[in-house]
Amino acid sequence: MKQTTTFHIGFLALCAALNVGIGAIVGMLKLPIYLDSTGTFLAAALGGWAYGAAAGIIAVLIAAVIIAPTAPAYSGTAIVIALVVSVFVRVKFLRSFPITIIGGITVGIAAAIVSAPVTTYLYGGVSLAGADAFTAFFKAMGNTLMESVILGGLATDPVDKLATALIAFMIIKAIPQRVFGRFRNGELFTQR
């Protein structure tokens, strides 16, 4: 991050709020997706993994009091998402359409695997997301709880994170060019 300014703090807040508040917008459009990592994707892409992780962690802390008190346990998932995004952004993630698709699916797989132990051991297999129906199905088929949670996550997270990556790709295209100059990775996006 270039020297942290009040704008950077505000943008971090905007990304965290986007993670929490996008649910309302998705609800208005009646879409069957969550996109609750969009802000983490944007923050990690522009400001690096620590900035992205901060956006993700703040979002889960705020989500705890507004939407789901179980969310803070998934802080590790937010950190992993930020890490994977910040690695992929070096290879044209959120700048090239095919790489964005590959990156989105990879982030989804990573998120599903990292979330699984929390969902299994802390919340008995329930994640309060669409994966729960799949988890119940795989468990009823005779798999262990951990296997069922991982399989349930792998059935839904890559699709959700792919959609998140595509939305982040579109948002980055809409952000004014001059804003990129304020961020550490900004030059990657001004060369598009």
Partner: protein
């Protein structure tokens, strides 16, 4: 009853500790009391949140039952033995939800900021929290305004492909306009000395009273005793 927000945080934390360190039956009783308290407090403008939290908890219960009781081995049936396995995380989630609902219902945001200022929390962190809580409802309002404007231009909410397109039509102008607004407000707040090391003040009066001290001692004692009973029994 005017109780310091810090005391309320400690009471909520102690409640979660006591609830989670009890036996399953006792947990059910304690958490039911917690929900009752939270539901009674969360009236007025918190009714939507009350409904949301209850719905989420009940959905969690439904899925926990399905995950631990449903079986396809030898035909589709429910295994009663899975009920106890499902009950423990259901109560754990219930404890967290009732504590959070109670906190949200009883702590006003301005008291929270006042407490953080009194605790000498760095101003950028307080500003960050304030901005997140400001942006969340503002984004939903702005999103609706933009959606209505796009509909006035001929955008139709029909078919999943069109609705997905609508997401970009709403989010792109929403983000660019919010960033513009953010540039102005961050410059203004920086000019007003957000990062100046001078002590900050607040208009909301909060203070620790004798009642706070008594509540803190009682709630911490109960939490410590329940942990000790859990370890040594």
């Amino acid at each position: 009853m005017v109780v310091h927000p810090g005391t309320r945080l400690v009471i909520a934390l102690s409640f979660v500790i006591v609830a989670l360190s009890s036996s399953l039956q006792l947990q059910a009783v304690i958490i039911s009391c917690g929900w009752l308290m939270a539901l009674l407090q969360a009236g007025g403008n918190k009714q939507n949140q009350r409904r949301l939290f209850l719905r989420i908890w009940l959905i969690a219960g439904l899925f926990l039952s399905l995950i631990h009781m449903l079986s396809f081995q030898g035909g589709v049936h429910m295994e009663i033995s899975g009920f106890r396995t499902a009950a423990a995380p259901f109560l754990r989630i219930g404890a967290l939800m009732s504590a959070c609902l109670w906190l949200v219902a009883t702590i006003k945001p301005e008291s929270l900021y006042a407490m953080l200022i009194d605790l000498n929390m760095p101003m950028p962190i307080i500003y960050l929290l304030y901005k997140v809580l400001y942006f969340i409802p503002r984004m939903a309002e702005k999103g609706l305004e933009i959606l209505e404007a796009q509909q006035a231009r001929g955008f139709a909410l029909a078919g999943i492909k069109n609705r997905a397109k609508g997401l970009v039509l709403v989010l792109a102008p929403l983000m660019s306009s919010t960033i513009y607004e953010l540039e102005t407000s961050s410059a203004a707040i920086a000019a007003r000395g957000l990062r100046s090391p001078m002590p900050k003040t607040h208009l909301t009066a909060i203070s620790f009273s004798g009642l706070d001290v008594a509540l803190l001692i009682v709630s911490l004692l109960i939490a410590i005793i329940s942990i000790a009973l859990r370890i040594f029994s």
